[in-house]
C-alpha cells in the first residue's frame, strides 16, 4: 500500500530537529533510515501528520568511543556501526548481533537508534541495550537532555519511555569489561527475520546477566549468580515471560527455547572456564 499523506520536514541541525518536533505536535514522527517506520506507514498502521527526517543531520552521524561506553548518534546506520573497526573490541555483543539485524539491504539504511526507537519486542538491538545496561539519550526544548536506562526505556510492544517532545539523539552501549564474555543466539524462521526467541548474555564469574527477546512485550533481563541452580532459574524465567501462541511458534516452544538456548549460552563448564582464566 501507499502511505497516507503527511507533511515533510528535513532539518539540518540537531537543534532545528528538536524545534521542529516541538512545533509539529504529538502526531509527528521522526524518520531516519525508515526501515521500520516506512513499512508501518505503507501499511497505514500509523498516519502521522508530519514526518521529521533527521537523516541529513550530520551532527547526529557519529560513533564515539568514550571512557566507559560507545556512543552511537541517531543518524548512524547499522551498516556504519558494523563497519566500525573498533566494534569487536569495544562492544563485542553488538558486533556479534548486527549481522542478525535485518538484511544487508536494510542495514544499509536502517539506523541503530531507529531500531531502538521502534522497540519491536523481538528486535536484537533493544535486547543488546537492555542486557548490557546501556542507555538512551533524549533531548527536548532548550537543549535539555534526559538519560533513560535500556531496561526501563522499553515499556511494551512498540512503546518506549520517549515523550512526544523528545528526540533520541544517541544510544550508549557500555564497553566490554575484562573477564566478561558476551554471547548471543537466536531462533528465527529465516536468518534476518524477527526472532522467535533471541537471547543475549553478559557472563562473568561474579554474575550472569541474561536478556530474552521475542517472548514478552519487551526485552527482559535477569541476573543469576554462577552457583544458582541454572535449570530452575531458566525454567522460572521461561514461565515468567507470559509467552503466547502465534502463527510462528507456540508458547510451549518459546519456553522450551528459553530453557534450552539459555542453558547453551550459560553452560556450567563455561562458568568454570572463566573462573580459571581469571585466577591464572
Amino acid at each position: 500500500m501507499k502511505p497516507a499523506a503527511f507533511a515533510y520536514r528535513r532539518p539540518q541541525s540537531r537543534r532545528e530537529a528538536v524545534q521542529q518536533l516541538l512545533d509539529a505536535g504529538e502526531d509527528a514522527r521522526v524518520i531516519a533510515g525508515g526501515q521500520s517506520l516506512m513499512a508501518v506507514l505503507n501499511m497505514r498502521l500509523s498516519q502521522p501528520s508530519t514526518l521529521i527526517d533527521i537523516s541529513a543531520v550530520d551532527e547526529l552521524r557519529y560513533i564515539e568511543r568514550r571512557e566507559d561506553h560507545l556512543a552511537v548518534g541517531a543518524a548512524t546506520t547499522q551498516a556504519e556501526l558494523l563497519e566500525y573497526a573498533e566494534l569487536p573490541d569495544a562492544v563485542p555483543l553488538v558486533h556479534e548481533v548486527l549481522p542478525w539485524v535485518g538484511h544487508v539491504q536494510t542495514r544499509n539504511r536502517g539506523t541503530v537508534c531507529g531500531s531502538i526507537a521502534h522497540a519491536d519486542p523481538s528486535a536484537e538491538l533493544p535486547l543488546c541495550l537492555a542486557t548490557l545496561g546501556g542507555e538512551v539519550v533524549l533531548e527536548t526544548r532548550r537543549g535539555k537532555t534526559r538519560h533513560v536506562s535500556g531496561e526501563t526505556f522499553f515499556q511494551g510492544v512498540l512503546t518506549t519511555a520517549r515523550r512526544s517532545d523528545e528526540l533520541i539523539t544517541e544510544v550508549r552501549f557500555p564497553l566490554a569489561r575484562s573477564g566478561h564474555r558476551y554471547r548471543f543466539t537466536e531462533v528465527a524462521m529465516r536468518h534476518g527475520d524477527f526472532a522467535i526467541v533471541a537471547l543475549a548474555a553478559d557472563i562473568s564469574d561474579q554474575r550472569i546477566r541474561l536478556g530474552v527477546g521475542g517472548v514478552a512485550d519487551r526485552p527482559v533481563v535477569r541476573e543469576f549468580a554462577p552457583d544458582d541452580d541454572l535449570d530452575a532459574s531458566l525454567n522460572e524465567l521461561a514461565w515468567s515471560l507470559g509467552a503466547e501462541d502465534d502463527a510462528h511458534a507456540t508458547a510451549a516452544y518459546r519456553r522450551h527455547l528459553v530453557r534450552e538456548l539459555g542453558r547453551r549460552l550459560i553452560a556450567p563448564n563455561e562458568i568454570e572456564e572463566i573462573a580459571d582464566a581469571s585466577t591464572t
Partner: protein, 168 residues
Amino acid sequence: MHLRHDERHRATLTLNGQSRSAEAEPRMQLCDFLRHQLGATGTHVGCEHGVCGACTVLVDGRAVRSCLMLAVQADGQRVDTVESLDEGETMSELQLAFRRHHALQCGFCTAGILMSCDEFLRRVPAPTERQVRDMLSGHLCRCTGYTGIVQAVLDVAGTRQAALEEST
C-alpha cells in the same frame, strides 16, 4: 526543507549516470517515483513493506529497498537501477551468468536481486557460498529455490578472480 502534505517537490537525482528530475509529493516512495515519474520500469514493486527485496536499487552505491525510502529523501543522491547493467547489445557478465545457471524463471524478483549481487560482488569479490546466501536472505524468489542464483554469483566471482590472477 518544509513541505505541506499535498505540496509537490521537484526532486533531482542522478539515475544511472544521468541527471533526472520530476515532481513528488512527500509520501511518494522512491520505487513509484522511478517507475511513474521517471519511466524507469525495470525496478519492480513487490510487497511494499521491505520484505521481498524486488525493488532493491543502489543509492549512493549501496543496496537499499526503494519502497522503504521516500523520493524526497533521494533528492540529490545517485540512484542506480537494473537499467544500469545494460551494456547495449549484450547483457552484463552477471546477467549472462543468471541466464546460464537458470537463476530466474518468472523474473519478477530478478531486477532487485541483480542490484544486490552487483553491489555485493564489488564489496566481497571472492565470497563463500555462505556469504552469498546471507546476502540473498534479503530477497524472496518463489521460482528458483535460490540454487541457480548462488551458482551464478559464484561463477561471476570465480571468473573475475581468475582474470585478476592472470593479469598479475
